[in-house]
């Protein structure tokens, strides 16, 4: 007796029925939402569609790696915002990893004072909301630092004041472009050198010392590019005027506050991840390595670090993603990141749906790329088990 494909009595029939009901409910909801949305948009005379992206934005963006004027389109404004997000995220990732590793290892230190201080750091910074820390940093930077007319001189030509951090930057010229192009070449050459060294070691058992040569190669190729381009040496140097600090490159106090807040907060989490990664390697591994006669350096590099990294890298990547997502708090202090720009755009033209879809799409894309990368990494380093 063949039951119908939609029979409630068979497992597959029941499955189909449930899914049909679910799909029907969802479609009804979606249609209902679409109708009311269109009605509401018409009532408020808000336009639909992504056409607004081509129109001039009309607002100013205070800083960023992407050159922008208020006559540029909304699309360009969003890109400028994205540039700012990536800028603070990249700097944040690097600095929080460094700080977090130091503090994480500090928690494992034999020195009790170091241990306590690092533990206190982690406990305090993980138990206060990031927004509170961020606002505190921002208000401290804007209120406690001196006026731009009287900045703090950190290094020759590096000034810190209420208007931010000013530092000398090279005047862009052909030589710098060549140097930049030489960077990936230098990287490739270094990698090739290490490959050669490893092949040599596997063949003969003798390890050629390529460390210094690699460093030289890595620096030499971009330097060669710089020289070929005319060896530009002109620097744009900030100078203190009676009113402010003029010239040079710099970062705004908003960027500084955001960076400090993000790094301080994320470093606490990175510290915990590093600590648990190191603790996750069974002590027997160190003992076995010592018993085999490996030096401490070799044991660290060949036995401990690979195993610790396996445990550390996945949660570390999620912390990097969290940092990128947390950079959206920039909207609270006026740093023009992607979410801030979207906020301004929504307030200006009311097209909330489109703008929110754009920013969510960007974050999801970053997530997706990272997840794929993580998948590749995990498959490569996964311990082969029965």
């Amino acid at each position: 007796m063949q039951a119908s494909p939609l029979s409630f009595r068979t497992r597959s029939g029941r499955a189909r029925l449930y899914q049909l009901a679910l799909a029907a409910a969802l479609i009804a909801l979606a249609i209902g939402a679409a109708i009311t949305t269109r009605h509401n948009l018409e009532a408020r005379q808000i336009r639909s569609g992504f056409g607004f992206l081509a129109e001039p934005a009309g607002f100013d963006i205070g800083e960023g790696p992407v050159p922008y004027t208020p006559q540029d389109s909304y699309l360009w404004a969003f890109l400028a915002g994205l540039g700012n997000t990536l800028r603070v995220a990249a700097a944040g990732v690097v600095l929080s990893t460094l700080l977090g590793t130091v503090i994480g290892l500090g928690r494992l230190s034999r020195n009790a004072l170091a241990r306590w201080l690092c533990t206190a750091y982690v406990e305090v910074l993980r138990n206060v909301p990031l927004l509170v820390q961020l606002l505190a940093w921002y208000i401290s930077v804007t209120e406690l630092l001196p006026d731009a007319a009287n900045p703090i001189r950190l290094l020759p030509h590096v000034y810190l004041s209420k208007s931010g951090l000013a530092y000398p930057t090279p005047v862009w010229a052909r030589g710098w472009a060549f140097a930049l192009a030489g960077l990936p070449l230098g990287l490739a050459a270094t990698w090739a050198l290490f490959r050669w060294a490893r092949a040599r070691r596997e063949r003969t058992g003798h390890t050629p010392q390529v460390r210094w040569a690699a460093l030289v190669v890595f620096l030499a190729i971009p330097a060669l590019g710089w020289a070929i381009g005319g060896a530009p040496r002109a620097l744009d140097v900030p100078e203190v005027t009676p009113f402010n600090v003029a010239g040079g490159g710099g970062v705004t106090p908003e960027f500084l506050a955001l960076l400090l807040g993000l790094v301080g907060f994320t470093a606490a989490y990175v510290a915990e991840i590093v600590r648990s990664g190191v603790l996750a390697v069974p002590h027997g591994q160190t003992e076995a390595a010592a018993a085999l006669g490996l030096t401490r350096r070799q044991a660290l590099r060949l036995v401990l670090l690979p195993q610790a990294l396996r445990v550390i890298v996945p949660p570390l990547t999620s912390q990097y993603l969290n940092l990128t997502k947390n950079s959206s708090l920039a909207v609270a202090i006026g740093y023009p990141d992607l979410v801030s720009i979207a906020n301004t755009a929504i307030n200006q033209n009311g097209q909330a749906l489109e703008c929110i879809v754009i920013i969510m799409g960007v974050y999801l894309f970053v997530n997706l790329v990272t997840a794929l990368g993580m998948g590749v990494y995990n498959r490569r380093v996964a311990l082969v088990e029965r």
Binding site: V124, L353, Y363
Partner: protein
């Protein structure tokens, strides 16, 4: 006969401890000296700033005379009601005080595993209803206070409580959906969870502020507070779904098989066998979720709600006291810190306390 060995170095006692932990090796000794010097410089100054030199009265002149050399806790003394209760009408502030105290008492009661019975859920529902009534008023002689005026700590507590309780059923459904055999349910649940976890909370709050008014029909106005509560629930549910899913995955397949061989259906199995075990397994993670939610509520300041963080900014808006922002932030940070520390210590205690099968199952799976 060989030379006598030198007397062994003292290992025990205070001296031994100091030697091992502070001067164990040259690097450690150097670190101790440097850190010790730094602390010796910083600690007395910090003490002077916070305690000995500080002004505790709400005396504007005295505070101004201090400059930045010591703390003006007078700011907190003057503004603490604004910070703690937001823009709630001054005379009626006993109401949010009582309401918050009730919720906190309920929280402490829930902390004891001995009291985990069916009635505790109904008790929570009653407490939340009383909370809403006390805050909102409008009957029994209590004047009506619009939700737009609720603020400060009670608002933070309300948002946390609502988001946590409402996200549990949704989170459980999403977790079951992710593990379902129905492809559509699995796709929908996974898409939702991955989407919401991939975007910052601010974007979800933006959706609540900007998009909900567009999607909902005109005849169904939701107050700003209700929209924010819904947004936070939808957000936290995605994270809770992952926590519950971890618990579901930790259960051995044999439990499903035993229930199936006895003839139990899907929902019967989930209700009586799987969920009771999975939810208890993940209680420590659940408490961590609660902690995250509590800290996440601070973001509602971005969408113009005056929770604890928002009302601090309100208080700092007063130009007379603006210079004493550090004291204000320390006060608010202190409140968050104490609550979060208590919650995380509780979570660790709970994990140790949950004896027997829960710990064994979790350890077996680890």
């Amino acid at each position: 006969m060989s030379e006598p060995l030198p007397t062994p170095v003292r290992k025990g006692g205070v001296a031994g401890w100091l030697r091992r932990n502070l001067f164990g090796n040259p690097a450690s000794a150097v670190a101790t000296v440097l850190l010790g010097a730094a602390l010796a410089w910083a600690v007395p100054r910090a003490l002077h700033w916070t305690l000995t030199g500080a002004v505790f009265r709400a005396d504007e002149a005295a505070c101004r005379a201090l400059g930045h050399h010591a703390a003006c806790w007078g700011f907190v003394a003057e503004k603490h009601r604004l910070i703690l209760f937001g823009r709630y009408p001054y005379e009626e502030q006993w109401r949010p005080l009582v309401a918050t105290a009730l919720v906190l008492a309920m929280l402490v009661a829930t902390a004891f595993p001995r009291l985990w019975r069916r009635w505790i859920l109904s008790a929570w529902a009653v407490v939340l209803a009383v909370f809403l009534f006390l805050m909102g008023g409008g009957a029994l002689g209590l004047s009506r206070v619009d939700p737009g005026e609720w603020g400060g700590l009670p608002l933070t507590v309300l948002l946390t409580a609502v988001a946590m309780t409402a996200s549990i059923p949704l989170g459980v459904l999403l977790a079951l959906g992710r593990r379902s055999t129905l492809p559509l349910a699995r796709t929908l649940a996974s898409t939702y969870v991955e989407l919401v976890r991939g975007v910052p909370l601010i974007t979800v709050l933006f959706v609540a502020s900007f998009v909900f008014p567009l999607i909902l029909p005109q005849g169904l106005p939701l107050s700003g507070l209700a929209r924010i509560c819904i947004a936070m629930t939808l957000f936290e549910a995605a994270y809770l779904a992952e926590v519950v899913r971890g618990g579901l995955q930790a259960l051995p397949r044999g439990q499903y098989e035993a229930a199936a061989s006895l003839g139990l259906g899907y929902w019967q199995t989930q209700r009586r066998v799987i969920l009771p075990q999975a939810l208890v397994l993940v209680i420590p993670s659940f408490v961590n979720s609660l902690l995250s939610t509590f800290m996440d509520t601070s973001l509602v300041t971005v969408v113009s709600m005056y929770d604890l963080t928002g009302s601090l900014r309100l208080a700092l808006g007063d130009p007379r006291w603006r210079g004493f922002f550090l004291e204000g932030y320390l006060f608010v940070a202190g409140i968050y810190f104490v609550s979060c520390l208590a919650l995380s210590r509780y979570s660790q205690w709970l994990e140790r306390r949950l004896g027997g099968w829960a710990r064994r199952t979790r350890e077996a799976r680890a």
